[in-house]
Symmetry: C2
């Protein structure tokens, strides 16, 4: 096992009706005014906005709201929200929505206490030294943003989809009520399943130092996602499956899947970020296209682990059978596995490669091979 | 899944040489003087004391030391240390040792800021409202105390072995260097294995609400303990196995094994606490006697889970086969499974039952049946 530091100070409030206490949770931190960030107006129709408003008022917390965050969130929106946060002198950011809203909120929390150009933090030109406290009610289980210090934002002008990380942008308190996630469409459910699995497999397959404890831990998350996705496609109201799916999503990217491992990278995410920055495809859908293609190209570098994956997750005996089983499962649940499902073909491959943020030790030739596997 | 709050603010510094930074870690909290609590003088012989002293000095942290904590630590020792901590006006407690030293240190941290009788906190007569910050270097993987808010202490006069819990006594920073744990004797290695497995199975078998995610998570810890214990018996210097064993121990009692479950209890621990309070047997050794006996009595209450355990952990097909496989494994590694191995027999059973802290919904008749299984 490799040396590591593990620290995750986010408090998770998980379960039914927990969102009704959001005002109480925020008041524990002495906060008197928040910026409430959200996406579509759906939260006004389904009553969540009212619930939040009521809880904030009961706890004498003022708020101003900022809606309109889109998926694959863009830096332009974040800039507008930072302006509002500064003008309104809010003391914290409250995110109500999915990972896009939360990632935007984290960035707003940084920008609200800085006079620097916000994109410079994503370019590594500026370091995060302070941020407003962040609270959230997460309405989609996928990104794991509710229990980590990452935020991913797209620069719509430069077509860069980059991320920031800081211990200062872990949410103080994340509310995860599986019931709030049951209205997610079937499409977004299966894209989320793909996203969670992608978070799991990057470290699992690429780490130079890996432990069996860790492999078993990750396989348990993947098996949970596979089992509960199938239940939820049939019955979106299954609370128990919805809960396990949500908790698996949180654990897939809260730092626990890679502790003690070393030398891992995120090639699938890097390739997908180029894809979704260029063509605005849903992140999880892009990942289910990239993963089997990357796995077919990569598996010989770590065949022992691919055989373990095949056996433990799908009861198969060879690396290739495991990869095909995953691809078949993606097809079965209805998340894309081919570029043509996005109306993309070989003509787009060079553009995707050109737009990659970094090469992650993969040469252009190899990237072509990977993307050719996805045709 | 049941509603839950999850919050674990302990920072873990895991790996080789991490103890050399202990002064730096403590100085991050602005602490200028600590009480260094330890057990036997072994840490002076093996150089750990010197390493700690050097790091504290380099970071201008004064210290006074308090040695002599024994396993199954007693409240008398804790009282002496509290007196010293108050007289010396220390600002934090630094524990260097195993779970007994750390549990004592947590109690000292509470007592140092209180004028109440310290045992009253264990009796529930006093509530913990403040505590000095706690830091530790853990030299034995077993209790999980390095990442939780529990402390277990024995009142040597009343023969009560009770615990306290508070979010205020999570260690601020825990140093886990597997290399420091390799000098643990073979006996204590196998007792530790038993202790970790006991932490896992209590919730796993007794919870009224259980999730498959959780069951898989727990099984991965148990399987890791079984695999790495066997490696470490053969080769105590196997760093990788030592690391996995240590990290499994931490995760077995840091709150992650029971999140989302409900209605669980700790019958094996309660029975064992009576046993070790009366006869001072090593905690893990007591547990490996109690567990198979309790399992044979209990399994029909939750046969589905016992069959799952048999299958997933030992590749067996029935509840009884799983229990026998665990008992056989305890025998194989050399941790006791019968009361007679402590020179106890049927004459002691009523004394053990009489000394139980609470009945945990188990009647006297049933306790007799359980303990008879252990003869």
């Amino acid at each position: 096992m490799e040396n590591f530091s593990f620290y995750n100070p986010t408090r998770v409030e998980f379960g039914k009706d927990k969102e009704k206490n959001i005002g109480k949770y925020i008041s524990e931190f002495g906060v008197k005014k928040v910026l409430l960030v959200y996406g579509s107006e759906r939260i006004k129709k389904d009553g969540l906005f009212d619930t939040v408003e009521k809880s904030l008022k009961e706890n004498s917390i003022e708020f101003v709201s900022f809606g309109g965050v889109i998926s694959n969130p863009i830096i332009k929106t974040v800039r507008e929200a930072i302006k509002m946060a500064k003008e309104q002198k809010v003391e914290a950011i409250l995110s109500v929505g999915g990972g896009s809203v939360l990632d935007s909120s984290k960035t707003i929390a940084v920008g609200s206490l800085s006079e620097c150009e916000i994109w410079d933090f994503f370019l590594g030109k500026e370091q995060i030294t302070k941020a407003l406290p962040i609270f959230d009610i997460i309405t989609l289980a996928a990104t794991g943003s509710e229990m980590n210090g990452y935020a991913v934002i797209t620069n719509e002008k430069t077509k860069q989809k980059f991320n920031i990380w800081s211990p200062l942008i872990y949410p103080k308190i994340s509310v995860i009520n599986p019931e709030l996630q049951k209205s997610v469409s079937k499409d977004y459910l299966v894209y989320s399943a793909s996203d969670i699995i992608a978070h799991c497999i990057e470290g699992y397959f690429t780490a130079k130092i890996q432990s069996q404890y860790n492999s078993g831990y990750v396989e348990n998350i993947i098996k949970t996602v596979i089992r509960t996705t199938e239940i939820l496609i049939e019955n979106p109201d299954d609370y128990s499956a919805r809960g396990e799916f949500a908790w698996a999503a949180t654990n897939a990217l809260n730092g626990t899947t890679t502790v003690g491992t070393a030398g891992f990278s995120f090639p699938n995410h890097m390739i997908e970020h180029s894809l979704s920055a260029l063509y605005n495809v849903p992140h999880g859908a892009g990942l289910s296209v990239v993963m089997p293609a990357w796995m077919k190209w990569y598996y010989k570098n770590n065949e022992v682990q691919f055989i373990r994956f095949a056996k433990e997750v799908f009861g198969k005996n060879s690396a290739i059978e495991g990869i095909v089983a995953l691809e078949n499962w993606f097809n079965k649940i209805g998340t894309p596995t081919r570029l043509k499902q996005f109306d993309l073909d070989e003509k787009n491959i060079s553009e995707i490669i050109k737009n990659l943020s970094f090469q992650e030790e993969i040469s252009k030739d190899d990237l072509e091979k990977i993307l050719n596997n996805a045709l």
